[in-house]
Symmetry: C2
Subunit: 69 residues, 2 copies
DNA sequence: ACAAAATGTCAAGTATATTTGACATTATGT
DNA sequence: ACATAATGTCAAATATACTTGACATTTTGT
């Protein structure tokens, strides 16, 4: 699964990892892990992130070939 | 988090839990748990379900008041 | 140049998503 | 009425999301 969380984090207020983490109530390490990719976060967190960054889950996280069954 | 997976499952080809489970490669129990609600599935599975049911994650899963920080 | 903020990364612990198996109940088709 | 498919539910095991803490490196502002 690919993500452009980092891109949206910069484009949307240029917010720090820590600040974003606080906004959605997770640890900074979780944000780091998500940005690093290959991290299958929960849909609730994905919805919160999309909400705070003013976008959609589909825009923030994209399935790759290997993800489809 | 609220879900209308069940509604979409019926409206979209009237597919059985087992068949949907097979489509996204999880066990039927996982589908049951998701439909029962209060189940925080992974975003990858959410994206797959939305894809197979021809809708979006946002349409399939909605945050509730208590989910917002 | 210096201090402070932001980021990268490792490791160990806790919470919970997902699986497997099994059985009971309810719906559906013939 | 009967067989089969679909669903509800429980319990135990495994995989993994997420946390906490700690330290090093890089970036940014003055």
């Amino acid at each position: 699964m690919k993500t452009n969380l980092r891109k949206y984090r910069f484009e949307n207020g240029n917010i720090s990892q820590q600040k974003l983490a606080d906004l959605v109530n997770v640890s900074r390490q979780t944000i780091v892990a998500i940005e690093r990719g290959d991290y299958n976060l929960s849909v609730k967190l994905a919805l919160l992130l999309a909400d705070k960054l003013g976008t959609t889950v589909e825009e923030l996280f994209k399935l790759e070939e290997k993800d489809y069954v």
